[in-house]
């Protein structure tokens, strides 16, 4: 029982990180129809930036904030490359984000080397019955909940949030009412970058990050986004936690190396099932 509880708590904490990555992916996808393959890169760059900032003497909190801002800026740059050229198709933008992710490897190795990096998170443990769990887990969950609360408020109560939703819902009409759809796309990329950055600085104390960690981060974030139906960013919280817990149980009761395979298989299964569901009414009509 204690092992199960331990896996569950670990799964919830890592799942929150996946949820943050997924919400960023969903925001960018909804506004631009582009699956951003560089989403994991935002997390990796934020993690590396945080290690550098902490190493140069910045206190915790400020260092992570700087790292998240750098990730948001990187998001804007990715958006500029991927979607600002008029007439760019989503498929071309997708390839552009893949190119950016690969280009990111070169920059990361140049700046931070090719060895995994980490930093200390919140020290100490909580006790829940017979199970001890790191306080960092609670920090991850707490910050994630705050971030999702802020996201909800942003989309529900702010005019810019409504304008972003409008661009996602009907870009043609958004343009007709005077919304600058490209600027909103960059705003979506900035949000996606910031959310990826938050995931990076929260997860790094739990597991060291290397330049190529973006692949597993993207796969898990994408799987969580697919679980959430790629619809509302807030659904990603459920998708991320469900994925994190499932992976923790797979790793705990089977092998840790099966985790990524589990996420990939889950993604494929959901995509196939959703595709079949969408096709079946049309086939019935025919």
């Amino acid at each position: 029982m204690s092992a199960f509880l331990s896996y569950l708590l670990h799964g919830i904490a890592t799942g929150c990180g996946f949820a943050l990555l997924a919400s960023g992916l969903i925001i960018i996808y909804r506004v631009t129809r582009v699956v951003n393959l560089a989403q994991g890169t935002f997390a990796v760059v934020a993690a590396f930036t945080a290690t550098t900032a902490l190493g140069s003497g910045l206190p915790h909190g400020l260092a992570e904030l700087v790292a998240v801002l750098v990730a948001a800026l990187l998001g804007v740059l990715a958006g500029v490359v991927a979607v600002t050229k008029p007439g760019t198709r989503p498929q071309a933008s997708l390839i552009a984000t893949l190119g950016l992710a690969i280009f990111g490897y070169a920059i990361e190795i140049l700046l931070w080397g090719d060895q995994p990096r980490s930093f200390n998170g919140l020290a100490g443990f909580f006790e829940l019955g017979s199970v001890e769990f790191p306080k960092q887990y609670a920090l991850v969950v707490g910050v994630t909940l705050v971030m999702f609360g802020l996201l909800d408020a942003f989309f529900e109560w702010t005019y810019v949030g409504k304008a972003l939703s409008a661009c996602a819902s009907n870009p043609y009409a958004a343009r007709l009412v005077g919304i600058n759809v490209v600027r909103m796309a960059l705003c979506g990329f900035a949000l996606g970058g910031a959310l990826g950055g938050v995931a990076g600085v929260l997860l790094t104390p739990l597991s060291p990050v290397s330049y190529d960690s973006d692949v597993s981060l993207f796969v898990n974030g994408f799987a969580a986004a697919i679980l959430a139906g790629l619809k509302r960013p807030l659904y990603a919280l459920g998708g991320g936690i469900a994925l994190g817990v499932s992976e923790a149980l797979v790793a705990g009761y089977s092998k840790a190396s099966y985790q990524s395979a589990f996420a990939l298989v889950l993604t494929v299964v959901i995509v196939v099932v959703q595709g079949a569901r969408e096709r079946s009414p049309r086939m019935a009509e025919e």
Binding site: Y159, K162, A163, S165, A166, S169, N170, Y172, A173, A174, R175, L176, V177, G178, I179
Partner: protein, 224 residues
Amino acid sequence: MNVIEVEDLCVRYGTATALDGVSLSVGKGELVALVGANGAGKTTLLNALSGVLRRAAGRVGIQGRFAHVPEGRQLFPDLTVDDNLRLGAYRAPDRDTAWIYRVLPELERTRKQHAGNLSGGQQQMVALGRGLMARPDVMAIDEMSLGLAPLVAGSLITVLAELNRERGLAVLLVEQSARLAFRLCSRAYVLEAGRVAASGTTRELAESAVLKDVYLGGADQAPA
């Protein structure tokens, strides 16, 4: 003074010419109809006025604030009626929607509903209200009556007539239903295959053979 002035406008989709040397004007506070059969280039013209489509040649001049109510309503279905209306004022300083509910009172009870859940008539009212939120001097409305019951379409025409009388709103009304458009407008242009086939007062055009030719290829029936 003209609020819309179009001179020799050409718009192309690749190698296909959608508009070929179109010229038209809408005066301040004037109600002008643009009629024509399917594929004549009416929607293309409005999209060129809004800047959604690039023009290959010609000149488009708009004086004052312009709003475009597109064909098919084009609402934001996941947002509430009130949010849809407020987004119409994206470039306007005042986002208070209260006056829209006075002009279109039927929308008042739907303000918290998602726009995608409304009836066709209500959606058209939201589209109209969203356009009005820009506080336009001139509004281009594309196929307002499409898919609406004649009674609903007629009530919207009445609303536009009142807005014109009370606020001096100029309207460029694009309609397939020439009869409906001519009820509101005093002047009209007839578009055929990307060119202006005729123009004049709606009274003259209603009697003209050109209109019958454009719609019915010369058959001896009046347009609906």
